[in-house]
């Protein structure tokens, strides 16, 4: 038997306001991703294959679940276009859906079941059935050779099902569900953490002093959590992984999502904290705490970014020394009316910080302009911007200030402009259809070797085919 999981984009629209960049299947409920509850349900029902259909990206989620081997079943993934109906998804996955009994979990919902009950619910069914709540449903289909024939409308509701559905359609339903499971039925599910006494779940590498920290159950603490002195945690509080609670703070009936820092002397009561956002689950109000001493997300990459900047600075220094004489020669003898310097305002960060950068405009292909490009003299002043940390040596394309550049930067997951860039190496400019693809490809595949290849190929490409580069520039 197989299971197809599909959550249309519109079902998880509310999450964008509270949990930006969290994939709906990866939404943690009591420190466990929603999809993992589905997997538990599938395992209980002797399902051997799961197809997860996604209409938004999540590398993190796929890295976590991989091929499902950890749970003893096969997980495969497929893509959906935003707006695809369930019928279309069945059609698009018909190879997967045919020739086996099929369970479909449709929508953003939580399945209420008991792990100790030998459910095996679907083995008893002799015809198609569904259990639904509003726009979400769990369907059961008997084996068919042609999934395109499945009629979703005619399916009968199963009144005697051994499980039910709770819709996750807003921040309140999310909070209520966590509270309900934690307070009333924690034993129904496999919850993460060590559970030495009822109502207490503690993860690995949790550091606190039992003499100065008060824990009131029920309480759940994830992995790698530090709780400093004179704090009170609980009752009914969930702390995710990688959290620091600073001294003299109180956390009651709250959910602290992973990677958060709670400052000292704070009282968090009936709230959800997601990175630097404090959310009231009852009203839906969310405030961003700007002062990082109160509530903030723990930056994972600060150290690696500093090391990267230093490495780029080092290589920039080498290029400054190497190209010093050619540049000096150009300034003395190589100036031409066809090579015009101009200062352009350009974006230098994802938050649209601007900086005036020197840009050399080539107006005509002449001997001097070809030599200028051949030796990449236009790049020389930019190496100094690498030393000051404004640019990387190899990074995203430097985009000038204008509405389309601004839109493009907003769409990119990160933006670290560099003197050398991947689309530039391929002679693709921002007006090209493929420019955005090249940029996103670079962002997801960047590494030291790739950056080195970009610098090398750009410098050599210019050296040996300056005419082509100038033609592209013109």
């Amino acid at each position: 038997m197989k299971c197809l999981v599909y959550c249309p984009v519109e079902h998880s629209e509310w999450m964008k306001d509270f949990f930006p960049n969290i994939h709906p299947y990866f939404l943690k409920i009591l420190n466990k991703p929603l999809l993992e509850y589905y997997i538990d349900f599938c395992v209980l029902n002797k399902i051997s294959e799961i197809r997860v259909v996604k209409s938004s990206t999540s590398k993190e989620m796929e890295n976590y679940f991989r091929d499902g081997m950890q749970w003893g079943l096969d997980i495969s993934y497929n893509l959906a276009r935003p707006g695809d109906s369930l019928s279309k998804i069945i059609l698009k996955n018909s190879s997967f859906c045919k020739d086996s009994d099929l369970l479909i979990i449709h929508g953003l919902c939580f399945l209420n079941f008991k792990k100790d009950n030998n459910i095996n619910f679907f083995a008893k069914q002799d015809e198609n059935r569904k259990v639904h709540s509003a726009n979400s449903a769990v369907y059961f289909f008997k084996k068919t050779k042609n999934p395109a024939d499945i009629d979703l409308i005619k399916i009968i509701e199963d009144a005697n099902a051994e499980f039910s559905i709770t819709l996750l359609n807003g921040i309140k339903s999310y909070y209520d569900l966590s509270t309900d499971i934690f307070m009333n039925r924690p034993d129904d599910y496999f919850l993460p953490g060590y559970n030495n006494e009822p109502g207490v779940y503690i993860g690995r590498n949790v550091i606190y002093n039992p003499n100065s920290v008060t824990l009131k159950k029920p309480i759940m603490i994830g992995d790698n959590v530090q709780i400093r002195d004179n704090t009170l945690i609980g009752p009914n509080s969930v702390l995710g992984n990688n959290i620091i609670i600073d001294s003299s703070s109180t956390i009651i009936k709250s959910i602290i999502y992973e990677q958060s820092y709670i400052g000292s002397d704070l009282e968090v009561n009936e709230k959800i904290v997601f990175k630097n956002h404090l959310i009231n689950p009852f009203t839906g109000d969310s405030i961003e705490i700007v002062d990082k001493f109160f509530v903030s997300s723990i930056e994972k990459n600060i150290i690696s970014r500093s090391v990267r900047k230093m490495a780029h600075g080092f290589f920039a220094l080498i290029l400054i020394i190497l190209y010093f004489l050619p540049y000096l020669f150009f300034l003395i003898f190589g100036r031409s009316k066809y090579i015009k310097p101009e200062r352009k305002e350009c974006y230098i960060s994802k938050d649209k910080k601007l900086k005036k950068l020197l840009h050399w405009k080539i107006l005509r292909s002449t001997f001097k302009s070809r030599m200028f490009i051949r030796f990449s003299m236009d790049k020389y002043p930019l190496y100094f911007e690498v030393l000051t940390g404004n640019l990387l040596l190899a990074g995203n394309c430097i985009l000038p200030k204008n509405p389309s550049s601004s839109k493009l930067i907003s769409k990119m997951p990160v933006y670290f402009p560099g003197v050398f860039d991947f689309p530039g190496m391929l002679l693709s400019c921002p007006d090209d259809d493929e420019f955005e693809i090249h940029e996103i490809y670079y962002i997801h595949n960047t590494n030291f070797k790739m950056n080195l290849r970009i610098i090398k190929r750009t410098l050599l490409g210019r050296l040996f085919s300056a005419r082509r580069w100038i033609k592209n520039e013109l």
């Binding site: 276009r81 190879s95 259809d433 955005e436 693809i437 996103i440 490809y441």
Partner: protein, 113 residues
């Protein structure tokens, strides 16, 4: 890289075998351009596509652009795990219909024609 075209009525099934990257994207574009004389409806069968990079994806997108300019369309079938990651991170899946087998893709495309 090898590109094979077979036809089922009006629909051209374009099977790409091997790698589609900067070294052969031009060849792919040229071949596709020549196939456009035969039909404008295509299923790109990626069951044996081992690797695709951004230039390869750019070629696939430019093919879609050309086909749609001539009122045609391109569906994708049998997208394997590694190429799928690229479709996902670049959000290219939002512009293509992706099916898990050629037969269903043909049925769906026939409905559109």
């Amino acid at each position: 890289m090898k590109v094979e075209l077979t036809k089922q009525g009006e629909i051209g099934i374009l099977k790409t075998i091997g790698r589609l990257d900067a070294s052969n994207e031009k060849e792919f574009k040229e071949k596709f351009q020549s196939y456009l004389a035969e039909t404008v409806y295509f299923i790109m069968d990626f069951s044996e596509l081992d690797f695709i990079d951004s230039t390869g994806l750019g070629a696939v997108i430019s093919s879609l652009k050309k086909a749609t300019e001539m009122d045609g369309d391109i569906y994708i079938a049998n997208l394997q795990d590694k190429p799928r990651m690229l479709f996902e991170i670049t959000r290219a899946y939002k512009i293509f219909e992706v099916f898990d087998d050629v037969e269903t893709a043909i049925l769906a495309l026939k409905k559109e024609i």
